[in-house]
Amino acid sequence: MSFTSVDFLEIDALLSEEELLSRKSVRDFVEAEINPLIAECYEEGKFPDHLIPQLGELGVLGANLPEEYGCAGLNNVAYGLIMQELEACDSGIRSFASVQGALCMYPIYAFGNEEQRRKYLKEMAAGRLIGCFGLTEPNFGSNPADMLTKADRVTGGFILNGAKAWITNGSIADVAIVWAKLDGEIRGFLVDKDTRGFSTRLTKHKLSLRASITSELLFEDCLIPEENLLEKSNGLKSPLMCLTQARYGIAWGALGAAMSCYDTALRYSQQRVQFGRPIGGFQLTQEKLVKMVTGISKAQLLCLHLGRKKDTGNLKPVQVSMAKMNNVAMALEVARTSRSILGANGITGEYPIMRHMANLESVYTYEGTHEIHTLIIGQSITGQSAFG
C-alpha cells in the first residue's frame, strides 16, 4: 500500500490546493517510478540517473525559482512538500534535487549575471545539465572559511588550484560551482566538466546515501574563463546563502524520511501478532508510536511556519538552522525507534527503515553538522561565539 503522510494535527487543511496537488504529483511519480527500484539501487550503490530527465520534466529541479528561467515558480511550501516526498523515498534522491536546485541553480540565479542565468538555468531545470557544489575540502569541513582552494587572476580569466571532497553529484556533473579564494576572498566559479586539469574521483565504500553519487574534485592549474566567475558572489556569506536554501529543503526532507519510517512501523505494529495480539496493542509499542507521531507533528509545524515566512521574505538563517538541526535529529530518532518495532524485519532491505536510518547519518552531518547548527543558534541567543 502506498505511503501516506502524517497529518495528526490536520495541517493539510492549512495547505492550498496548489500545494496539495504539487505534493500529490510528486508522490505519484515517486511511487510509480522510483519506489520500485530504490532498494536495489541502494544495495548496488547506484544512483538512478536515468530518472533525471523525468525529474526535470516533473518540475522538481529548482522548483521555487522563477518560471522565466524554465523553473516551476512554486512557492516555498510547495517546494518543501516536494522535498518531503522525494526523501520519503530516499535521502539520495532528495539530495540530488537539493544540490541541483538549491546549491547550483540558486547561486547562478542569485550571484550570476543575466547571461549565466540564461545559459544554465533552463537546461538545469530540465535535467539536461547537472550541477554539483564544491565547498567542503579534505581538511576543511565545518570550517570552510579556511579553505585552501584558490584562484589567481591571469589574462582572460583565472587559474584554479585545489581539491574539494564529499561532493554530491561530482562525477556526473556537467558544471561544478566551486568556491575558491580570489585575492583572499571566497568567490564562486562555474567550472565546466571538460576544463583541462579538472578531474573527479568517486568516493567508494559509503554505507550511507548509497543511492547518491559522492566524489572528490581535483583542480590542477585549471584555466577558468573570465565569464565563469559568479560576479555577485563575495565572501563566505555567498555559499552560506546557498546552504540556507538547501537546509530549508532538508528540514522538509527529513520529515519525509521520518514519515516513511513511522508509516511503516505503524502498519507493521497493527499486523504483527505476538503473545496473541498485535504488537501495536502493547503499551511500550504505543509509547514509541506516540513519541514518533508527536515529533513528526511538531517538525511539520516548524516547516510550515518557516515556509510561510520564507514566502514573505522574512526568514532568518538561524531559524533554518533550528529546523535542520531539530528535524534531522527527530528523523534519526524515529528511524531507530521504527527499526526496533519491526524487530528482525527492520534490518532488511525489504523495508525502507534501515536505509533511511543509514542515510540520515549523512544528512545529520552535511549542510552544517548538528553540532554546528547548535552553535549557530547558541551564538544567536547568547551573543557569544563558541566556534573557535
Partner: protein
C-alpha cells in the same frame, strides 16, 4: 483533423481509503466523509487521458465539465494541470447525490450552451455509487449515438475507430461524430501525473462557473430530481466465513451431501 472534445468528470470520495476507516450514515444513506480525500473518479481520469492522447494526435481542444459542489473546482484544476484546455464548473447547490438523469440533463444543457462538439467522453461509472448510467442518458439528451466501455479511441476514415470491451472480448466500432463515449480503463489510458509547473499554471487559468440558472434549465426541477431512482438502504455488508466439513462413508455419498449443502446454502439449483 482537429477534434473538439468534451470530457465530463466527477469528484468522489477517495475509494482507496482503508476499509477500516470507511463508515456509512445509514439514516442519511450516505458515505461518511471522515478523513477521506476528495478525488477525481478514476474512470473520468481515464477518459481525460484518452482525450489528451487523441488531441495529441489529431489536434483540437479539450473542455472539461463537472457538475458538483464547490470542492469540484479541485478536480477541474487537476484536469487543467493535466493539460485540458478549458474547464467549466456547474455549481450544484442542491442534493449531494443527484440521480444520473438529472446530471445528464444538466451536462446536456451545458454542452448545448457551449455549442459545437465532436465527441463527449465520460468515465464508464463512478467509483462511489457505480451506477454507470450517465453516459447513455447524456447521449439520449443530446440526441446522439453512444458507445460504452471504450478503451481506445483513434481517428478513423470518416469518424472515430473505437475499441470496446465486451463480456467475451473486444469489438472494433467505426463511429461517426458527434457522439458520446464511456471510457473504461486499460493499460494505455493510465492517467498522466501533472507536472508541478502545470499544477501552478492551472491555478492561474480562468475557470468558467455556471449556475443552473445560467444554463436555462428548470433549476427547481433539477434540484428536486427525477425520482426514478432512490437509494433505499445503505450498509456495509458483513462478511462471514464459515467452514464446514461434509462426511460420508463413500466418495459418492460425500459428493451427494456436498451438492445438497450448496443448494441449501445458496437457495438455488
Amino acid at each position: 483533423m482537429p477534434v473538439n472534445i468534451i470530457v465530463c468528470v466527477k469528484q468522489i470520495l477517495d475509494p482507496e481509503i482503508p476499509s477500516r476507516d470507511f463508515r456509512v450514515d445509514a439514516e442519511q444513506r450516505e458515505a461518511v466523509r471522515g478523513a477521506a480525500n476528495l478525488v477525481t473518479n478514476i474512470f473520468c481520469e481515464n477518459a481525460l487521458e484518452t482525450a489528451l492522447q487523441l488531441k495529441e494526435k489529431s489536434g483540437g481542444k479539450i473542455t472539461v465539465i463537472s457538475y458538483g459542489a464547490d470542492s469540484t473546482e479541485d478536480a477541474l484544476r487537476k484536469a487543467l494541470a493535466m493539460k485540458a484546455d478549458a474547464a467549466i464548473h456547474i455549481l450544484n447547490d442542491g442534493q449531494a447525490h443527484p440521480d444520473p438523469l438529472s446530471v445528464a440533463q444538466v451536462l446536456a444543457a451545458a454542452i448545448r450552451k457551449l455549442g459545437e462538439f465532436d465527441v463527449v467522453m465520460l468515465g464508464r461509472e463512478s467509483g462511489d455509487w457505480g451506477v454507470g448510467q450517465t453516459a447513455g442518458l447524456l447521449a439520449e439528451e443530446l440526441g446522439v449515438a453512444a458507445v460504452a466501455f471504450v478503451d481506445k479511441v483513434e481517428i478513423g476514415a470518416d469518424g472515430l475507430q473505437l475499441k470496446r470491451q465486451t463480456d467475451v472480448g473486444y469489438e472494433r466500432v467505426a463511429a461517426t461524430m458527434p457522439l458520446v463515449i464511456s471510457i473504461t480503463n486499460d493499460e494505455h489510458n493510465v492517467p498522466r501525473i501533472p507536472k508541478t509547473r502545470d499544477v501552478m499554471m492551472s491555478f492561474r487559468q480562468p475557470l468558467t462557473k455556471w449556475t443552473l440558472e445560467d444554463l436555462g434549465v428548470n433549476a427547481a426541477e433539477v434540484r428536486a430530481g427525477n425520482h426514478y431512482y432512490a437509494v433505499v438502504d445503505l450498509f456495509i455488508p458483513v462478511q462471514e466465513l464459515n467452514c464446514e466439513f461434509v462426511d460420508g462413508d463413500t466418495l459418492e455419498a460425500r459428493v451427494e451431501k456436498f451438492a445438497q449443502r450448496i443448494i441449501e446454502v445458496t437457495g438455488s439449483m
